[in-house]
C-alpha cells in the first residue's frame, strides 16, 4: 500500500518539478499584476467621474429603501416615479424554486414619507407594515457610516498585515501575502464598479471578511514553500496549489449560490456573498500567480530548494 503511494508520489513529483514553471513563473506573475494596474486605472477614472470609488446604496448615501411585498409591477411604477425622483432604482426579489417575485425594492434619496406617498398614489392602496418594509438612513449618518467603514477597512488591513508579519517574521514573504490581499480588494472593487453594482454598509463589511478569508491560502502557500523541505520547491508550491484551489472552490461553493441563485434574501446577505464571490475568484489569481511567483523568486534567491 505504502509502496504504491510512494510510486505515485514520485511520479507526481516528477510531473510537478518540470522545468516549465521555472521558465514561466515570471510571466504568470505579471498577469494578475496587469489586472491590478488596469483596476487601479479604472478606479481612478471611476473616481474622477463619480467623485467616489464606489456606487453607494441608500444605506451609505442617505435615503429610503421601500420594499413592497408581492408581485408589484416595476413597469407601472417606474415612469411615474422617475419624473418625481430621478435617482429612483428597482430590485426584484424572487423565490428560489418558482422564480416568483416575492417583493419589489425601490430605492431613492427621497424621504420615506414622500416616496411612500407617491407609490401609494400610483398603486392605489396604502402601504402598511403588513405589505411593505421601509428602511431610512439620514444623509449625515450615512456619510458617517461610510467614513467609518472605510477607516475600519484600513484598520483591518493594518491588523491583518501585523498578524502576517508576526507569523512569517521575514519581509518578502509577508509583503507578498499583503500585496495579494491588497490586489484582491482593488480588483474586486473595480469589477463591482464595472458591473454597476451599488454597495451597502454590509458590502463594505464583507471586504473586511475578504481580507481574513483570502489570506488563508496565502498562508498555506507560504508556509509550505518555506517550511517543509522534503520535496522540491515546485512540487511544494504545486502541492499547496492543489490544496488551496480546492479550499477556494469549496468556499466559492458556499458563497456563490447565495448571490446567483437566490434573490429573495435580505440585501445585506446578498452584498456579503457578492463581495466574497468576486473577491475569492480574484484571490485565486492573486495567490497562485502573483504570491506564488514572489515566493518562488524569493526561495530561488535565498536558495531554499
Amino acid at each position: 500500500m505504502k509502496n504504491m503511494e510512494e510510486i505515485k508520489e514520485e511520479k507526481h513529483n516528477k510531473r510537478f518539478s518540470k522545468e516549465w514553471y521555472n521558465k514561466y513563473y515570471k510571466i504568470l506573475f505579471l498577469i494578475p499584476v496587469l489586472f491590478l494596474f488596469i483596476s487601479l486605472i479604472y478606479l481612478g477614472y471611476f473616481y474622477s467621474k463619480n467623485g467616489d470609488f464606489i456606487y453607494k446604496d441608500v444605506s451609505l448615501s442617505g435615503g429610503t429603501s421601500l420594499t413592497i411585498n408581492g408581485e408589484v409591477s416595476q413597469e407601472i411604477l417606474e415612469p411615474e416615479l422617475k419624473l418625481i425622483f430621478p435617482d429612483v432604482s428597482f430590485t426584484h426579489l424572487s423565490e428560489l424554486t418558482s422564480k416568483k417575485q416575492i417583493a419589489l425594492r425601490i430605492e431613492s434619496s427621497a424621504s420615506p414619507e414622500d416616496l411612500k406617498k407617491e407609490v401609494e398614489t400610483i398603486l392605489g392602496y396604502s402601504l402598511t407594515e403588513d405589505n411593505s418594509s421601509v428602511e431610512f438612513t439620514g444623509s449625515s449618518l450615512s456619510k458617517d457610516f461610510y467614513k467609518q467603514l472605510i477607516i475600519a477597512l484600513i484598520i483591518s488591513f493594518i491588523l491583518m498585515s501585523i498578524v502576517i508579519f508576526i507569523l512569517f517574521k521575514s519581509f518578502v514573504p509577508s509583503i507578498a501575502v499583503i500585496f495579494a490581499a491588497f490586489a484582491d480588494i482593488v480588483i474586486s472593487l473595480a469589477v463591482i464598479d464595472y458591473l454597476g453594482i451599488k454597495i451597502s454598509a454590509a458590502g463594505i463589511a464583507a471586504f473586511l471578511m475578504l481580507l481574513g478569508y483570502s489570506v488563508d491560502t496565502d498562508i498555506l502557500l507560504t508556509s509550505r514553500a518555506l517550511k517543509s523541505q522534503e520535496k522540491p520547491l515546485n512540487s511544494r508550491i504545486f502541492g499547496a496549489f492543489k490544496t488551496g484551489i480546492f479550499m477556494t472552490l469549496t468556499a466559492l461553493a458556499a458563497v456563490v449560490p447565495a448571490f446567483f441563485l437566490i434573490t429573495g434574501l435580505p440585501d445585506s446577505f446578498r452584498q456579503i456573498f457578492l463581495v466574497l464571490s468576486i473577491g475569492l475568484t480574484a484571490d485565486i489569481f492573486n495567490t497562485w500567480l502573483t504570491n506564488a511567483g514572489i515566493i518562488k523568486w524569493y526561495c530561488d534567491k535565498k536558495k531554499i530548494q
Binding site: 505504502k2 510512494e6 420594499t67 426579489l93 428560489l96 416575492i102 417583493a103 420615506p112 407594515e129 403588513d130 405589505n131 418594509s133 421601509v134 428602511e135 431610512f136 438612513t137 439620514g138 458617517d144 457610516f145 467609518q148 477597512l153 484598520i155 483591518s156 491588523l159 491583518m160 498578524v163 507569523l167 454598509a201 454590509a202 463589511a205 473586511l208 471578511m209 481580507l211 481574513g212 478569508y213 489570506v215 488563508d216 498562508i219 508556509s223 517543509s228 522534503e230 520535496k231 502541492g239 492543489k242 490544496t243 480546492f246 469549496t250 461553493a253 458556499a254 458563497v255 449560490p257 447565495a258 441563485l261 437566490i262 429573495g264 434574501l265 435580505p266 445585506s268 446577505f269 456579503i272
Partner: protein, 506 residues
C-alpha cells in the same frame, strides 16, 4: 472505538449547545404574556409578563389563534365577567368588564432570537440635534424614551446606547413584531408633562415650573423603610424632593388653600391627589400631605412605594419606582431636540420569506459542498466527518448566540455561513497535510496544519475586529458570529477533527 478527550469535549460542547438552544420548546403549547396593564385586575391578581397561558376557562390555548378566538367569544361589555386563566405560574381568576388588559405573543420555538430583518419589527437610531450627548445624557435619554414607550404600552422593546468610531452617541431602539403607527413621533417628540390637582394644572415638566429634582443624593432622595406587607411580602417607601419654581409654588398654594383634609392611618392628606400626566396619560397619583395646604412652598417631597416577595426585591422595586418618577419629572419634556437618523420598519411577512430562503440556501450549500468533498476524497467516512464537523461548528455558534441572547440578523447568519466556509477550508488543510507527506509522522503533519490554521484564525479575527465599532454597531453581528465560529473551530471542532482523521488513517 475508544473516544479520545478531544472528541469528548466536542460531544459535551454539542450537548451544552443543545441545552442553550432548547429546541424542545417547539413542543410547548400556549401563549406568552408580553405585557400586563398596571392597575388592571389581571395585574392585581398577579399575572405578569413572561408567564405562559395554557388554558382559559377550561379551553386549552395552543396558539395565538386559540387565544384570540376565546377572547373574542368572551364579548367583554359593561358588566364584569369572570375569566379563569391557567398559566405555568398558577391559576388566576380575573373579573373585568373591558378587556383583560394584557398582550400576548406566540411562544418562541427555541432560545434563538432572530433580528428584525428576519422577524419583522422596527428599529430606530436617534441622536440629539446639533448637540453631542455625554454618556450620562444618553442614559437619561434612554430612561425617558423607555418610560414613554412603556406608558404608551409597548412592551417588547430594546433600547440601548450605541457609540461609534467617530465618538457619536446614539440611542438605538428596537421593537419586535408590530410597529406602532407613530413610532417616529413617539421617540423623537419632546413630550408634554403635566401635574394636576383635579383638573387644575399645578406645574408642568421642564425648567419653567420645576427648578430641580433631587436624585442620586441620599440626603434628599432615599428609601425610607421597609415593612412586612399584609398577606406576605415586603414593601418599601421612598421619598425624594423636587424644587418648584416660585410661579409654580404660588399656583400650588392657590389651588390647595381650600381643599379638605382626609385622615388616614398613614397620615393626614389632602382630599385630592396630585396627578402626573405624560402626554395626557396618567403616570402616577401622589398624596399631598396636610402641611402643604395653601402654602407657597418650593420644596415638595414626593413619596411612594415599591413591593416585592423579599426585602431585596422590594428595595429594588422602590428604587426603580423612584427613578422612574424622577425621570418623568426631570425630562417630562426632553431637554434637547432629537433627530431620527435611521428608521427601519420591516414587514414580518417579508422576514418569513427571507428566513425560508436562508434555510433553502443552507440546504443548497450543504449539498454542493458534500458533493465536492466526496468527488475529491472519494471516501464516505472522510466526507461525513468534514460535514459533521462543519455542522457542529454552526450548531455550537448558534448555541453561544442563544446563550448570550444575541439577535441573529441577516449579517449574523452570513457570518455563520462564512465561518462554516473557513471551517471546511481548515479541515481540507488538515486532510491534505496528513495525507501529503508520508515520510514524516502524522503528528508532525498535523502540527504543520495547525500552523496554517492558527495563522488563518488570527488574520480573520484581526480583519473582523474593527467592525465592532464601525457604523453604529449595525454590523456587529457579522463580526461576532464569524469570530465565535472560528474560535469554536480552533478550540473545539478542529482538535476533534484532527483526532478523527488520525483514527481514520491509523
Amino acid at each position: 472505538m475508544k473516544i479520545g478527550v478531544r472528541i469528548w469535549i466536542l460531544i459535551i460542547a454539542l450537548f451544552l449547545a443543545f441545552l442553550a438552544i432548547a429546541p424542545w420548546k417547539t413542543l410547548e403549547k400556549g401563549v406568552l404574556v408580553q405585557s400586563v396593564e398596571q392597575n388592571s385586575s389581571a395585574f392585581e391578581e398577579g399575572l405578569r409578563k413572561g408567564q405562559i397561558i395554557t388554558m382559559i376557562d377550561g379551553n386549552s390555548i395552543e396558539s395565538l389563534e386559540d387565544f384570540s378566538k376565546i377572547i373574542l367569544e368572551k364579548n367583554y361589555s359593561n358588566e364584569k365577567i369572570k375569566t379563569l386563566i391557567k398559566t405555568n405560574a398558577g391559576e388566576f381568576i380575573i373579573y373585568s368588564n373591558e378587556s383583560l388588559g394584557i398582550t400576548v405573543s406566540s411562544l418562541p420555538n427555541t432560545n434563538l432570537k432572530t433580528g428584525l430583518d428576519l422577524s419583522g419589527g422596527s428599529r430606530a437610531l436617534i441622536k440629539a440635534k446639533e448637540k453631542d450627548l455625554s454618556s450620562n445624557e444618553v442614559s437619561d435619554l434612554i430612561d425617558v424614551i423607555t418610560n414613554r414607550l412603556n406608558v404608551y404600552g409597548i412592551a417588547d422593546v430594546q433600547i440601548v446606547p450605541v457609540s461609534d468610531l467617530s465618538g457619536n452617541n446614539f440611542v438605538s431602539i428596537e421593537i419586535a413584531g408590530a410597529t406602532p403607527k407613530d413610532l417616529e413621533e413617539l421617540i423623537s417628540k419632546q413630550g408634554k408633562f403635566e401635574s394636576k390637582i383635579g383638573n387644575k394644572t399645578v406645574f408642568i415638566g421642564g425648567e419653567e415650573d420645576i427648578a430641580s429634582v433631587c436624585r442620586n443624593d441620599a440626603t434628599c432622595a432615599r428609601i425610607e423603610g421597609c415593612f412586612d406587607a399584609q398577606g406576605g411580602g415586603y414593601f418599601c417607601n421612598f421619598r425624594f424632593s423636587i424644587y418648584l419654581s416660585q410661579v409654580a409654588a404660588e399656583r400650588h398654594a392657590e389651588i390647595t388653600k381650600d381643599m379638605p383634609v382626609n385622615s388616614t392611618p398613614q397620615g393626614n392628606y389632602l382630599s385630592e391627589k396630585l396627578d402626573l400626566y405624560l402626554d395626557d396619560v396618567l403616570v402616577d397619583s401622589l398624596l399631598i400631605s396636610e402641611g402643604l395646604k395653601g402654602r407657597v412652598t418650593t420644596q415638595i417631597a414626593i413619596s411612594g412605594s415599591g413591593s416585592g416577595e423579599n426585602k431585596e426585591d422590594a428595595i429594588n422595586s422602590a428604587e426603580e419606582q423612584m427613578h422612574k418618577l424622577q425621570t418623568v419629572l426631570i425630562t417630562g419634556s426632553l431637554p434637547y431636540k432629537l433627530e431620527v437618523v435611521k428608521l427601519d420598519t420591516i414587514s414580518p411577512s417579508l422576514g418569513k420569506e427571507f428566513t425560508k430562503n436562508i434555510f433553502l440556501l443552507g440546504g443548497v450549500v450543504f449539498l454542493i459542498i458534500s458533493i465536492i468533498l466526496f468527488v475529491k476524497y472519494k471516501k464516505i467516512k472522510i466526507t461525513l466527518s468534514v460535514i459533521l464537523t462543519m455542522f457542529s461548528e454552526a450548531f455550537l455558534t448558534l448555541g453561544i448566540a442563544a446563550l448570550i441572547s444575541w439577535n441573529l440578523d441577516a449579517p449574523s447568519i452570513a457570518g455563520i455561513i462564512a465561518g462554516m466556509g473557513t471551517g471546511v477550508n481548515d479541515q481540507i488543510v488538515i486532510l491534505d497535510e496528513s495525507t501529503s507527506n508520508t515520510s514524516i509522522s502524522v503528528k508532525e503533519r498535523i502540527k504543520r496544519a495547525l500552523f496554517i490554521i492558527f495563522g488563518a484564525f488570527f488574520t480573520i479575527i484581526a480583519a473582523m475586529l474593527p467592525l465592532f465599532w464601525a457604523g453604529a454597531g449595525m454590523l456587529k453581528g457579522f463580526a461576532l458570529t464569524t469570530i465565535i465560529s472560528v474560535t469554536v473551530g480552533i478550540l473545539i471542532t478542529r482538535p476533534a477533527f484532527a483526532e478523527i482523521v488520525r483514527r481514520i488513517q491509523d
